[in-house]
Symmetry: C2
Subunit: 141 residues, 2 copies
Amino acid sequence: MKRLNFSKKRDAVLKVLCSTKTHPTAEWIYAQLKQEYPDFSLGTVYRNLALFKKQGLVVAVANVNGQERYDGVTASHSHFVCKRCGSVFDVEAPGADFELDSRIARRYGCEVERHNLCFYGTCSRCRQEEESGEQTKNVSV
Amino acid sequence: MKRLNFSKKRDAVLKVLCSTKTHPTAEWIYAQLKQEYPDFSLGTVYRNLALFKKQGLVVAVANVNGQERYDGVTASHSHFVCKRCGSVFDVEAPGADFELDSRIARRYGCEVERHNLCFYGTCSRCRQEEESGEQTKNVSV
DNA sequence: TTCGTTGCAAACATTTTGCAGTTTC
DNA sequence: GAAACTGCAAAATGTTTGCAACGAA
């Protein structure tokens, strides 16, 4: 395995991802850091996200409208995805724990690394907006 | 809502999807039907898959290596995704039922349409192949 | 005849990659 | 100094779309 150098920008990518609960896109992370580093590139975001995924520091939780959404919290938890505004937020779902992984592994002879439980529907804010006849607004993520 | 005409090819897309357990890609469905209909187009697959999704006849279960994988079985069940060969297969996971949806809905004030539970890891065949030092082979999906 | 559906290819959007310059060790 | 990392832009990939021809009602 090749050695890993320190990189200020790599650190920054992880820090940005870990300090938000929005489960952002690569583009969003890029936009944040472009302000801080004028010579910052989207490729760096993608390259480092790929690395973090391999390291298990980061996980892709859902693909919303063709864009991958990332999470810096790897402790097992579930997500809700709003099909209207595209927001992704954490939910606590009973039963979806690591026990389940070994259960599946045992039963199907596979090696289970992790699981991902996503609920899809309309978030509470969007439900209200729909009732009052508002236009669809995608959250700025 | 606009009316829906009958279409032989649309039917064929659904039939192909429903008669496989491989959770195929759009491309795979296209390849199957291109044999039967020489003037068959990938756009037709995508257009009809989008329609089926809206109708709730079909669901996208996972994005594997950038390609969406579809399932014609909409009754709630879980999936395992092999990160090595890319295969997707059904698993029975206790607790992940429709009860859970209303539980989440109640707790978070959202409207839950469905959920999707995916396990990620290495399938049993790939585990064996890894042990015997075989090359990675992606399944032809 | 009307309008939904399709083939085809171009357009699109996201992600990946090659390369030359920069940074880390 | 060697090798990892990055910016930049081009390439690659999967998916969507516009349009003219076709097919169903």
